[in-house]
Amino acid sequence: MTASSVLVAIVIVPFVVSVATFFLPVRMSKPLTVVTGIAIFALSAALVPRVLRAPIRVGGTLQADALSVVFLVATAFLYATTAIFAAGYLHLEAGRSGARYGRLFYSGINLFCWAMVVAPVVNGIALLWVAIEITTVVSALLVAIDDTEAASEAAWKYVLLASLGLGIALLATIVMYYAGTATFGPAYNLSYAKLLAGAHHFPPAAVRLAFVLAVLGFGTKMGLVPVHTWLPDAHSEAPTPVSALLSAALLAICFYAILRFYQITERAVGSTYPRDVLLVFGVASLLLAALYLLRQRDVKRLLAYSSVEHMGILAIGMSFGVQLATIGVLLHVLSHAAAKGTAFFGSGSIVRKFGTKDMRRIRGGVGVLPWSGPLMVAAILALSAMPPFGIFRSEFLIVSGGLSDPHDAGAAILVVLVTIAFFGLSWFTSQTMLSPDPRPGGAPDQVVGAPDQVVGAPDQVVVTRGEPSVWIVVAMVIGLGALLVLGVHLPSQLSQLLDQAARELGGPR
Amino acid sequence: MLNPYGVQVLQVATIVGGAPLVSGVIAHVEGRLQGRRGPRILQPYYDLAKLFRKENLVTEESSWVFLAAPIVAFACYLIVPLLIPVLTTYGLPLGYMGDILGGGFVLSLAGFSVALAGTESGAPYAQLGSSRAMTFGALIEPTLLFVVFAVALITRTDLPYALAATVRLSASEMVRPAHVLAAVAFFLLVLADTGRIPVETHSGTLEFGMIDEGRTLEHSGPALALLQWGSNMKQLILYTILIDVFVAPWGLAGSGRVLSVVLAVPALLGKAMVVGLVFAVIDNSFSKLRLFKITEFLAASFLLAVLAVLVYYVGGG
């Protein structure tokens, strides 16, 4: 297969599958989605060596360079693992929800993933905006799919805030277009190559305005403080597979959009300005998220704030403007995707088992969940940047890059705040997972209380030892395996890919 | 060629003589719009003549202010036509006596003296009308100032003649946002200041809804005639400013030739009647606002005036 046909396949297949799953029964959608996810991941991985030779372009609309492929791989990985996880997750839901729920769910998940894999490979900031807007509308429906009061509240906040953010992002796109008209005349297309080629001549004021608007707009969806407020709500109320996709893939895609604006801005006005903007947003996000992590009682909200934290790390990492830190940032995108996905899968398993998201009611997770319990602990440790996982490596790169910069205050702040976040996460681990088994002395299975969040679940949940589903374990094992690979031995092609993407992003020339 | 001072006198005479006619036309059309035959067009003149023949009644509590106020107000309304372009495009000698702000002050003085006479009468409804008129006057004032600012920014002078000349220059000046916003703001002010719906029912008999009308309840005879005549003149003056300064400064005399000056008189009165018709239609298509909602109406015109100034600063608009 040629590179361009691979690209076209990546763009078309998930959409077709999404349409198909809308009509197929759930038992067929399940394997179909898993196969599609794995196939898309394989295709994306196949793009890596090709894109190292030269950027791929298909017509005027599709293009993939190293930067795109980094995000494409991360998203496709989530697509595959979430499909596996959902197979186990929905198996449990099947009893109550009926065929309609399943069809909507699978169709929505595939459409959502489609929009997310399309976003990094479209050519130009306008099409990118369109792709991200599609992710918003689809994911908002997926957040509301459980049809509870809390879900509708979360979905409303999400769709309103995200749409507003994207409205701002659209304004950013238009201002960027305006900046280009000085060079290209009143009508031109907004492809990256064209914008980057002409960026030197853009009026700086317009570009600056566009960049701030873009950070604010896409930052709303990425979860940057102070425009993150929808994020914990949507992440906690959505079905867990959707939470995993939102948190691990969608936020990264919005970061990708910011990076594209960064690229142009950096050429037009130099790197100081965009770096300062990112530093402000990054530090604010990291600070607030670290503090909220300390007092969080809801498992999924905990993970959501952890996402805000990691998005802050990404923004700070970019603000260092050093090649090494930029490589770290891109690696962080990959490893955060794997770690956060895995952690959400684990939380799905916990929520199923205990029937609640309230961490005060969850005890002895490791004892009750023989496989996913320890895996969850490992995933949380990975999220707290413990070696030997990928996040350790990426944060290490970011911090060492930051320290090589003369203004290393950013790096110091980063280390301090990440440590605070670590306390929050480890409190969770010790309280819920490593605490004593709730069934003292092998007594009859204990009733831990009525579930208050999971609507439609039985009135009381009896905690028995055992895994809710083997699929969940499989998904978590894959995620942790990837994290180990990223942390211990980065494949050489991947490392070349990150190098090249970092070069594309600029840095000292 | 007419002596400039002669033209000046003719301006005042046009306003003084034409004001009851314009009011009569409006009242007649309003009657038609409401399905009545309406009063005769010349009715205001007959009313004035009748009132002048009657005796002047004064309440016991009142002082000389009660009788002086109508004369002061009438005098003020005689002064303002000297300052604004009524018949000519070129400035007349006395036209430079005061700018648009000065004209505004003279009009305020007239309103103030009438209100003073209202409180002087000692009658509760007249006092109510006076206090309301002053309250809303205080809210109208800032808007008027912003309109004047906008005009002054556009023309770099605050002479009414200069703005009229600028508007005549080109179509770009007409669609200029600052100009249009200021004009609309001024239009709303005229609506409020001439006692029209949605602010006030100008022809009602219900004292509770009265604002401007309420002030003159206690006057009679020649004093009332002066007040009514004055209020007709004020209406025509405001229409003239709206027409000749903001909306349609065409048909004015470009030189002192007798024919063009004489033709300018019917032109002005015709345009004033058209504007009056617009007001009559508005009057008959909307309902009166509650008293406390009038502030919102005035806030809207304030918003327009502020935007006019802002837009000018942003892009010379």
Partner: protein, 221 residues
């Protein structure tokens, strides 16, 4: 500053201002229905603006865009929202956090902020009218005020749609040459967003039996 704008830019500025004024009127309008009608009117102004830009800048694509805008924003979207309202006839008027006067004052301040910000950037261009950009930023900001201060899903949704109108105005005047395909994609996205808004509004109404967002405070922390 002070130079007379051309007739073209004067007209576009004026239409843009009309959009801004409609935004203010929405802020004031207490009835949800009148708010939707105002939105339809605002979209109509945007349509006219598209036609003016198309005619005076010779961008025939924009005629098509105007047609699509008209069908979508003047007919379809208000129609959909009104239909939704008819089903949920519990609320006629929305509630807001502040009184009308304070809201208008805040909105004036906010739009002054937008004007000043854009002016200080000195984005001068020979072919494109700058005030329009400033005004559309003001529209966006006032829409934000509307969304923040009104407490019902209809007003908030209409606020978002009108924000989109503001961005649309900017794109028409500042980026008239934007490829038609992209413009239509934007509009299509809006339509999809409207449907999603509608679905979630319905879910919300079905769950809590109100259109108010007053009780949307369960999720926090």
């Amino acid at each position: 500053m002070g130079s007379v704008p051309s007739t073209y830019s004067g007209t576009t500025d004026l239409l843009t201002l009309l959009v801004l004024l409609t935004e203010f009127a929405m802020l004031r309008a207490p009835l949800l229905r009148s708010q939707i009608r105002l939105y339809a009117f605002q979209s109509l102004v945007v349509t006219v603006l598209a036609i003016v830009v198309a005619a005076s800048r010779h961008v025939p694509d924009l005629y098509a865009l105007a047609a699509v805008t008209f069908v979508l924003k003047v007919v379809l979207v208000p129609g959909l929202v009104l239909r939704l309202m008819r089903k949920a006839d519990t609320d006629l008027a929305g509630s807001s956090v502040l009184g009308v006067a304070s809201m208008i004052l805040i909105a004036i301040l906010v739009s002054v902020f937008g004007f000043v910000t854009i002016t200080t950037l000195h984005l001068h261009s020979d072919v494109l009218p700058t005030p329009t950009l400033a005004i559309s930023v003001a529209i966006v900001l006032v829409a934000f005020v509307l969304i923040i201060l009104r407490q019902d899903v209809v007003s908030q949704a209409v606020g978002f749609f009108s924000l989109e109108n503001g961005v649309d105005v900017a794109s028409l005047v500042v980026a008239a040459g934007l490829p038609l395909l992209v413009d239509v994609a934007f509009l299509f996205d809006l339509l999809v967003a409207v449907v999603v808004f509608g679905v979630i509004m319905r879910v919300h109404h079905g769950r809590s039996n109100t259109l108010s967002t007053h009780d949307m405070d369960r999720l926090r922390g």
